[in-house]
C-alpha cells in the first residue's frame, strides 16, 4: 500500500512536470479553452437566461460550452444569479468537487453585488467565496453578454493565464 502511495505521488509529479512543458501546455490550453463544460448548478433566476444561452438562437455549444451533469466531469461554474446562504454552501461544495483546472463566471448583478437584492439578509456575493474570473453585469444579462464572458474566459485560458495544480492564493 505504501508502494502504491509513493507511486501515486510520483506519477502526480511526473504528470505535472510533463504538462507544464511548452508544446504540451499549448495543446492543453487549446483543448481546454474549447471545452468549457458548465456544471448544472442553477443558483437563481438567471438560470432562465442561461438556458437561453444554450437555446437555438444563441447556441453556446458552438463555443464548446456544453452544460453537463456533475461537478466531477465539468470544469466551469457559471454562477447564475443570486447566491443565497444555503446555495452558497452548495456552490462552494460543488466548486471543491470539481477537478482542476476550473473556472468561475459570475452572471448577473445579483451574483456580483446582490443587484436589486443588495440589502437582503440572505445573500452572499460570489466573489467572496469563489475565485471569479469574469463578471457579467445585467439583470439578467443578455445571452450575448454571457457569450462575451465565455469568449473572455477562453482568451484568458488560451494565454495560459490560469492556475492549475497550484495552491490558490485566496
Amino acid at each position: 500500500m505504501i508502494l502504491i502511495g509513493n507511486m501515486e505521488e510520483f506519477l502526480r509529479r511526473a504528470a505535472k512536470w510533463l504538462i507544464e512543458k511548452k508544446p504540451i501546455r499549448d495543446v492543453r490550453d487549446w483543448g481546454i479553452h474549447f471545452s468549457l463544460w458548465p456544471v448544472h448548478l442553477t443558483t437563481a433566476c438567471c438560470g432562465v437566461e442561461f438556458a437561453a444561452v444554450s437555446d437555438p438562437k444563441y447556441d453556446a455549444e458552438r463555443f464548446g460550452v456544453l452544460p453537463f451533469v456533475g461537478p466531477r466531469q465539468t470544469n466551469f461554474i457559471l454562477i447564475e444569479g443570486t447566491l443565497t446562504r444555503k446555495m452558497a454552501r452548495a456552490a462552494r461544495l460543488v466548486y471543491e468537487q470539481m477537478p482542476e483546472p476550473k473556472f468561475v463566471i459570475a452572471m448577473g448583478a445579483c451574483a456580483i453585488d446582490g443587484g436589486i437584492f443588495w440589502n437582503s439578509y440572505n445573500i452572499v456575493r460570489a466573489h467572496e467565496i469563489l475565485p471569479v474570473e469574469v463578471f457579467i453585469p445585467g439583470c439578467p444579462p443578455r445571452p450575448e453578454a454571457v457569450i462575451q464572458a465565455v469568449m473572455k474566459l477562453q482568451k484568458k485560458i488560451k494565454r495560459g493565464d490560469y492556475y492549475y495544480g497550484v495552491e490558490r492564493e485566496d
Partner: protein
C-alpha cells in the same frame, strides 16, 4: 389497434426528426453577426454632463440603489453608476426630465475586474462602455419569419 397507432406515431416522430435534418437554423452567429437591438432598448446608460440639472431623481428612483449622487468640485450633485448592481430597468432614464440620462442599445459586456464596473460621474460622462468583438461584426436586425421563426436581415 393500439399497437398499430403506436407504430404510426413512432414512425411519425422519426419522420419529423428526419424532416428537420434539412438545416433550418435559428441561430444568430453572435460574435460575427450582432443583433442591433430595437430603438429604445434599455441597455447601458449614456450620461450627458451638460444636460444634467442635478435634481437627483435618478438616484431616488433607482430600485437597486445603483445610481448614487456624487458632490463634485463645483458643489453640484452628479450621478455615478455602479453596474454591479444595475438591473437595467431604465427608470432613471425615464424619469430624467432633461434627457441627461439615456439608454443605449449596448448590452453585451463582461468585465474581468470588479472595480471596472463602477462609474463615478466623470467616468460616467466619458461615454458608454463598448463591447469587444474578435472581428468587425456585421449588424443585423432580427425579424419574425413565418417559415423559419426568426430571420436576420443586414442593416
Amino acid at each position: 389497434m393500439g399497437l398499430l397507432t403506436n407504430l404510426v406515431d413512432h414512425l411519425k416522430a422519426i419522420g419529423t426528426g428526419l424532416k428537420y435534418l434539412i438545416p433550418r437554423r435559428l441561430t444568430l452567429m453572435y460574435p460575427e453577426y450582432v443583433e442591433k437591438l430595437p430603438e429604445g432598448y434599455r441597455g447601458y446608460l449614456r450620461y450627458d454632463n451638460e444636460k444634467c440639472i442635478h435634481c437627483s431623481l435618478c438616484a431616488r428612483i433607482c430600485p437597486a440603489n445603483a445610481i448614487k449622487m456624487y458632490r463634485g468640485g463645483d458643489k453640484k450633485l452628479r450621478p455615478g453608476i455602479n453596474y454591479t448592481r444595475c438591473i437595467f430597468c431604465g427608470f432613471c432614464a425615464d424619469i430624467c426630465p432633461t434627457g441627461a440620462l439615456e439608454y443605449t442599445t449596448i448590452q453585451d459586456i463582461a468585465y474581468e475586474k470588479l472595480e471596472d464596473q463602477v462609474y463615478p460621474p466623470e467616468k460616467f460622462a466619458k461615454g458608454v462602455p463598448q463591447p469587444v468583438y474578435p472581428e468587425k461584426p456585421i449588424f443585423i436586425i432580427a425579424k419574425v419569419d413565418e417559415e423559419r421563426g426568426l430571420k436576420y436581415d443586414r442593416v
